[in-house]
Symmetry: D2
Subunit: 123 residues, 4 copies
Amino acid sequence: MNQTMITVQGWIGTTPMLREVAGVPVLNFRLACTPRHFNRTTGAWVDGETQWYGVSAWRRLASNGGPSLHQGDPVVVHGRLDHRTYVNKSGVEVVSLEIDAITIGHDLTRGVATFVKSASSGA
Amino acid sequence: MNQTMITVQGWIGTTPMLREVAGVPVLNFRLACTPRHFNRTTGAWVDGETQWYGVSAWRRLASNGGPSLHQGDPVVVHGRLDHRTYVNKSGVEVVSLEIDAITIGHDLTRGVATFVKSASSGA
Amino acid sequence: MNQTMITVQGWIGTTPMLREVAGVPVLNFRLACTPRHFNRTTGAWVDGETQWYGVSAWRRLASNGGPSLHQGDPVVVHGRLDHRTYVNKSGVEVVSLEIDAITIGHDLTRGVATFVKSASSGA
Amino acid sequence: MNQTMITVQGWIGTTPMLREVAGVPVLNFRLACTPRHFNRTTGAWVDGETQWYGVSAWRRLASNGGPSLHQGDPVVVHGRLDHRTYVNKSGVEVVSLEIDAITIGHDLTRGVATFVKSASSGA
């Protein structure tokens, strides 16, 4: 299928925006992730550059995510990785990394959550 | 490093048990996952067998997970996959799949969460 | 979709068996993986138990894998994880881990490969 | 640990370059990946934009990869995802996606491979 799946641990960097596209709820936000990696020269773990992803969630994940997710929240996002090339305000072609989320959850290494299952979750 | 990372979407099938090992908080529970897969013969998506994992969480993930996670909660678990072989009560050697969790979150495709960041999260 | 994707680095532990199911080539073998994990008590990396997976490959991956893959080859396998429960020769119900492979390659950390692209690969 | 692992199926888009950094072999190439994704509006699978990654391999993976990997080869790459921001020749800040490879293999959905294990592979 040639899709690239990814699981990212990061922080919500923008106010999540919930809207409808053709009657389907969609939630969008930017996700910041600061990976640590091993520097083979110095033998130390160092913070990498902060990486930014555009995240989109659809349907139930959007409608549940809307009231649950806020700027600054630490989250884990699992989904399909995509790249989008676009021309920015300065007329420069830039690459944006996008995740089409399969699921999102608050990162419990960073805090405590109270969860209420949807009536329709069928769990 | 030869470690196998895994991200599983499932349900907590047992009451999570929080205890201490040498002064370090550890949280354990069983995770049920029912994957859907494509049957090439019939051309239809079908539910696979429910898969069970033993999940262990350590330190902050354990101490935050304790008050957050309950039997029946839908969650996403990201971590290292391990197999453990042991002899069960009937004297039979069985294999248990274990996930050493890096992070856990409630699955927002299944409900709504209220999250409170830890004072010490350094986010 | 609720499928669990996995990428495993291991060794082919059995002679790969190529056959046809309803005219479609299928390749099956057992994959052995010995993960290393960090023992939090001792602070050392230790070999975990060897983990076994049943791997199945279909269509072009099967027909190309047949002449390419041999018992003892180190490989990387990427695919969908599934569990199958069955009753073994001793009448005991056991769990088998299966990977429905999306792709397989020889592990180049372990040796050198000469590759010939298929005429039909469309690359 | 906050690292993002990724497995990408793609094609080598540049001549792999093998060199030494402080006595350690390093192999670099660009990887092209064209994911397919589901368009929810049209209900069809469509090719996404080709995504480019910079891949680096170290030590045995570099020294084995050097003679094995060539421009145009279809491969599977498993490793740690990183982003690097740099200023390009036009003076514009751009983002590059990098994979620090844990393993690389030829993609057997696309062709046939002959493999020779290293004497020192310890397999």
